[in-house]
Point group: D4
Amino acid sequence: MRRERVRALLAEVAEGRLAVDVALAQLDHAPVDELGFATLDRHRALRQGFPEVVFGQGKEPAQVVAICERLESHGDGFLVTRADAALRAALQGRWDAADVNAMARTVLLRGAAPPPRGTQAVAIVTAGTSDLPVAEEAAVTLDAFGHPTMRVTDVGVAGIHRILAQRETLAGAAVIIVVAGMDGALPSVVGGLVEVPVIAVPTSVGYGAAFQGLAPLLTMLNSCAAGVTVCNIDNGFGAAVAAARILAHPR
Amino acid sequence: MRRERVRALLAEVAEGRLAVDVALAQLDHAPVDELGFATLDRHRALRQGFPEVVFGQGKEPAQVVAICERLESHGDGFLVTRADAALRAALQGRWDAADVNAMARTVLLRGAAPPPRGTQAVAIVTAGTSDLPVAEEAAVTLDAFGHPTMRVTDVGVAGIHRILAQRETLAGAAVIIVVAGMDGALPSVVGGLVEVPVIAVPTSVGYGAAFQGLAPLLTMLNSCAAGVTVCNIDNGFGAAVAAARILAHPR
Amino acid sequence: MRRERVRALLAEVAEGRLAVDVALAQLDHAPVDELGFATLDRHRALRQGFPEVVFGQGKEPAQVVAICERLESHGDGFLVTRADAALRAALQGRWDAADVNAMARTVLLRGAAPPPRGTQAVAIVTAGTSDLPVAEEAAVTLDAFGHPTMRVTDVGVAGIHRILAQRETLAGAAVIIVVAGMDGALPSVVGGLVEVPVIAVPTSVGYGAAFQGLAPLLTMLNSCAAGVTVCNIDNGFGAAVAAARILAHPR
Amino acid sequence: MRRERVRALLAEVAEGRLAVDVALAQLDHAPVDELGFATLDRHRALRQGFPEVVFGQGKEPAQVVAICERLESHGDGFLVTRADAALRAALQGRWDAADVNAMARTVLLRGAAPPPRGTQAVAIVTAGTSDLPVAEEAAVTLDAFGHPTMRVTDVGVAGIHRILAQRETLAGAAVIIVVAGMDGALPSVVGGLVEVPVIAVPTSVGYGAAFQGLAPLLTMLNSCAAGVTVCNIDNGFGAAVAAARILAHPR
Amino acid sequence: MRRERVRALLAEVAEGRLAVDVALAQLDHAPVDELGFATLDRHRALRQGFPEVVFGQGKEPAQVVAICERLESHGDGFLVTRADAALRAALQGRWDAADVNAMARTVLLRGAAPPPRGTQAVAIVTAGTSDLPVAEEAAVTLDAFGHPTMRVTDVGVAGIHRILAQRETLAGAAVIIVVAGMDGALPSVVGGLVEVPVIAVPTSVGYGAAFQGLAPLLTMLNSCAAGVTVCNIDNGFGAAVAAARILAHPR
Amino acid sequence: MRRERVRALLAEVAEGRLAVDVALAQLDHAPVDELGFATLDRHRALRQGFPEVVFGQGKEPAQVVAICERLESHGDGFLVTRADAALRAALQGRWDAADVNAMARTVLLRGAAPPPRGTQAVAIVTAGTSDLPVAEEAAVTLDAFGHPTMRVTDVGVAGIHRILAQRETLAGAAVIIVVAGMDGALPSVVGGLVEVPVIAVPTSVGYGAAFQGLAPLLTMLNSCAAGVTVCNIDNGFGAAVAAARILAHPR
Amino acid sequence: MRRERVRALLAEVAEGRLAVDVALAQLDHAPVDELGFATLDRHRALRQGFPEVVFGQGKEPAQVVAICERLESHGDGFLVTRADAALRAALQGRWDAADVNAMARTVLLRGAAPPPRGTQAVAIVTAGTSDLPVAEEAAVTLDAFGHPTMRVTDVGVAGIHRILAQRETLAGAAVIIVVAGMDGALPSVVGGLVEVPVIAVPTSVGYGAAFQGLAPLLTMLNSCAAGVTVCNIDNGFGAAVAAARILAHPR
Amino acid sequence: MRRERVRALLAEVAEGRLAVDVALAQLDHAPVDELGFATLDRHRALRQGFPEVVFGQGKEPAQVVAICERLESHGDGFLVTRADAALRAALQGRWDAADVNAMARTVLLRGAAPPPRGTQAVAIVTAGTSDLPVAEEAAVTLDAFGHPTMRVTDVGVAGIHRILAQRETLAGAAVIIVVAGMDGALPSVVGGLVEVPVIAVPTSVGYGAAFQGLAPLLTMLNSCAAGVTVCNIDNGFGAAVAAARILAHPR
């Protein structure tokens, strides 16, 4: 029951056109989603110029296309993540204007009124080249939300000078996303080098005792650099949203 | 080799008092920590009015007292975390002015020039009363760093109206720390209600298949609310530092 | 030794045609399954108008067809679960009248005398669209057993208003099955909203630290809503049978 | 904002004593818990003659006494679970009339108007004598809720005749709770013997590869008897509430 | 319904004193345990001169004493395993004649008619001295069952000559129990040296990645010597019973 | 250095044809496997009419054919396990006389002098039809070693009368192999019904929390029937060898 | 800023062509990797005649070819590990002279100035034939680095005489790499036979409770032979580098 | 049968004083440990001036004292590891001259002829102060074996300048042992800074998702610095022996 409808109901009561008990009964049965709790519907808020996000994994291409057509009809654009080759082809075939990123496995159609461009950048740091798809997913997501990104790639701690050489880049970032598989040690070093928020993303890169990302996940949760927080394995999208939450409001 | 020393060396070279090869050799052997990499020493930056933090677990009371005496001699104050009853007694006995918090297991001695008081608040939300010690550790840490906190307690999702009733409090927070054991479901709900950063802390509260916090840890890593990030089990201190990283600089 | 045979044996003893020792020896060697322990043979009881259930996974299509032909010859109909595309095609090719459900991966042939239609409904609630196959398996199973179902879909807790808006539907259910992957938090919320039995089914939906359903499984076992019980991962069939057990007898 | 307050507000609007916009604003800020969502507050419903339940583990005796004093002041009585010896002594010292059960680790104070006595019984079946404390917790909880119980003890499957000899008892139960540690095999046998709901509770009884209850937990989740549902390890209380949910309403 | 009672019933039918239907009804309700299924009650068979076994862990000394008094009244003697110091003292205090073995944590009271002494020996092999308590539990159990044992101690594979030097002893055994913690490698070597049955028992000896016996358990399950079977961690009693099963009947 | 060669060497020394030092040096360099340690070379012992066993998994068909040709040249025959379709075809193509068992994934070529037929039978019991391949591997292996087998299939504990009805068959077995996936409860029941050795084999049959056989493995290790021993998951071959060890020598 | 550049800068200062402050600023901004920290860049050191190593897994053939072309342009040669058939074909097609090893999954192109041949050999010992690919990867790597290797294959501990027969070979090695799957017991035996460094490599060979190499990994970490160190599962390359570290410098 | 005895036996044969068959029989029964396999008895080799090592954990003080008295009687001295306070007191009370190290939990009695002092040093690097007991155990062990050690303490990667500042110390080491708990990231950085062997030791330092050392163990096994090898959790002694193996022989 949107606020306008409640106002109308109250006006009817005030004008004597609606009995108190009838109004009470109507309020009793108003579903929560009609009460106009703005903060309850996160999607609406994010949708202010932002594309809606569709998780493509495990869905049929036809299903995703149908969902995206509905989203596009609202004028919002969309971002499809975890889109495999078949899904990317289906979406590209339907929307010429869509940005397809094979490495990130994303398809982005910008809305009519894209979000304003942010002024603060997110640094996306990767330990190895195999971590790039996860980093790219984060980058595409942040781009879709209007936040500039900087890439620092292949700076794993086994060659510690590589990350040290990037201190200036890191110093220019408002938030840092660190993506690493195998030993997952990079966020501990980065967390010690900077004071800004550090979001760690373990990847399933590696083999054997990496156990599909369990090893770097545990490493990051136990980071000796205080204040590093962690996302799910391979969750570049989640890290980007976490960064967007930090950047969303002036502080 | 602090910057002043490098300048002096260069001056000697410029004045012809030092041969190029000798200067080169001295630069060769300068330890990195003398090169003046400001960002390398996180502690110094944090120490600008902040207390140093000592992890008390597994240390003898006498050791911790000795460490704290050294810290106090720098005029910085200190915050001891994971202080058991014996350690708290030892510290209280040595410093009358220290703030001892038995539930948080912390001892705080404020420095001569405490950090300026922040204007933005961190909401600390707990699912059950057993999660309070972890929440309290986070609160004491944030207080020591100068950030105001708000408490929202006992709002586990089994009585969903409890957290919904706190929407206004949540809306007033710049960052939200959610502390939960057992099913660890609360951050998913909170993450859907707000747009600000949400930091989830699993606790070891529970029994059986909670596996000392593994269950809520996995829940939080898989949160269906995008952009929730996670700390180690029972790591209230880490969550507070993560919040402080977010609040540290204007955005 | 079915009850009739025991009666006949006793009659022979009464008539003096069978010596006591011979009768005793025959009773001694009667296999348990012939003693007419009605409760021992669950299948017979369930078969009163119900289809027999065949677990299709890991069986050759020809094997399953053969099993189903035998079942059909008893006039009972059958329900095949976990039927992949090849198996569904084989069964459809053999029985035109069979109901094939690709999403649920089931094939149902109703018996000559289907079970009477129940009057109490089971609500099947899903957190996300990817949980639908498991929910559908539960729904088809309940339908085969004669129980009406209601669907509440895509009401994950990250948008808490979605489940709250369905309170009236939930209030009309005699049993609620909640199907969720990823964080598995939905049963905790539903369990707090209703007083009827809540059966939670974790799904293998998700990635990374979801560990093929381990994360929601642990969440549900640790639900902060008391009295929620849990089935195996992806076990929609088991949840339906658990609901049918509850509905089977008047209370 | 309880229903009465909304009615009063509407009356004021009807009488012209309150402007529509002011009434609208007051409704806007009404916390959800005041909107009279009856189903949201499960505790109130359960409290109709039922004692409130307090989880005693990890709380100071003084804290629990204080909580119970508040509950008693409502006239409701209380049930404290996971009460160790010290807590039991503290509660017994404060309330002479309380029923203390050392094996179940419970303290029960019946309310002024206890719930009506149910007519349907719950069978509580244990595999070994070491499983008795968990069974006892379930029994005390069901008793507090007004449901009669029957005990079937020490009927582990290694002596299969023991459970078979209890078929008549099982046949008389409306719900069966099966408590087992070690191999956790008993629910699979019981689930095959009866058609009523079977709730399985793994216990931490055992050693070595029992891994504190993990082994029977997995056994039960994979029960080859369809429709068996599972509670957390050692969670006798949860199993009792699940049974109470089943028995709560006529079907 | 013991066989005698069935015979009496049949006699009554034969004599015309009992109607067929009444007899049928009585048979219907005869509990299985009264039908004289000799093989169902393993304990009775084992009791032929063997002591009954009581698992002492987690039981109060008074409880165990009471159980043992009942057993002794049958003239059977008893074997209590996992008896801690308090329990051992209680039993010793009650029965002077009991054999108390502190390392094995056992108390044995031989029955009036102990089982006949076997002629075939079981070799009990341990990798290190810390594995001795588990080996001793196996030895006491076998002794109680009448089987001779041979000990081969401290022959871990890091000094491979130690086990090789014992080939003659091994060659004289009818069954070999191998007890090992840490790497659990010894059964693989022994299994390759002999052709008799090898029963492996992992122990919780070790630290760190031994994970309380998980490491040797997995090692033994994956033994490269074919035909090695495995017991639960620290389960010396179980290994002894497995050996007794092998030795029980001539082959 | 086979015993004959040592004897020859000694004879040469005795005859003065070989100097002591030369003989000593030859003995020094004799590989251990030539020293005639009969018990060291298990394979030779088993090879007395038994086929050699080749583990086919992960080997190229051509490799396995080559190995088998070498074995056949010794006149021993061979048994290839874990042979997939391609490997089975390759072996069948090479040896017409080979027995190919697709379900067991085995290829058996009997040797010129097959082992004598044993008189004692091994019962192979399976809980469900999906467990048959593992049971079949055990059966083929025992057959190759000359031991008769009996099959008891589809007697899972959810229909407890099924296994009880087979008591006579079980009573006729010298050893019982119990194969079960999912809850793995069957060995506990069988172990309680018989006194002969029971060897439990968990299978990877099941889904979800069966975790590829981990659930039944843990169940079996924690069996409440004493003296049940356990093999690796899906290891039908190992169970057969364990049974053969028991049957190998008269007791 | 390589050392030459720092020297040039100092020379300019000495000659008065560069002001001290300007030189200071240039030094301030010199990335760490240009400061000539020889030990920081491990790759340069290794590149002294050694091939660079490229981890092929998860990379596109075209990507790897491009990387290798760059490496070859430096005259260094390269070693590609984890190269599947497609990648091996692509590299072989591009470089005729490359050594392709299908079993080791490696492609090696020797540099213009290969490293000098070492005089000390590494023994690579394998438990079973299925462990050979991992052993081969280690052998190819050591060969590329100039170290001779010796192979000892198929000496698993179930036939203990096999490894004992190789004592002389082991005695001639400066370092021993032991590769084993399944029970992973071999390093414990080898570690007890020799005094030289023993590097253990678990492999994912096996099935069931081998859990993709977890079982031998735990075995090796708990080796009862002191001083055995362990590499990641299947990490033949890592073991070779560990051996090369040991052999790199005279001691 | 030592070589001398075989020579004597051969001489008797040569001299005709011993029949060939008798000599053959004596050789047949010679235990392997008498065959003079020098390398089989590692202890003897290590004992050349080295103390014997006794693992004190889980042994009674009286037992350890007895063992040490026997060792001392050989003139060898001894090193007891994992000695708790009671054991340390018992040993100190018996041997005044013993070196007791409470932090390392060791008691060392040097032998009459201690091993010669090595010239090459082992660097023992720790991430945090809580890792010191493990490092100290390694240091005491190396000292007992005659190898000099250097300590680099509290250089965790969160303050990366700390380890960089120690490059010169690291450069002077022949072997480096890196001890770290929590995230276990330090060996990856050290492994990239040096070319000498790096032995990583995870510790159980930390809490929550450190899981008693599992987290750093996995980190180290997945180290992105090639050639780092790993010991068991908290196994400082093992790391020291691994280093001693490397230093034992000139290369």
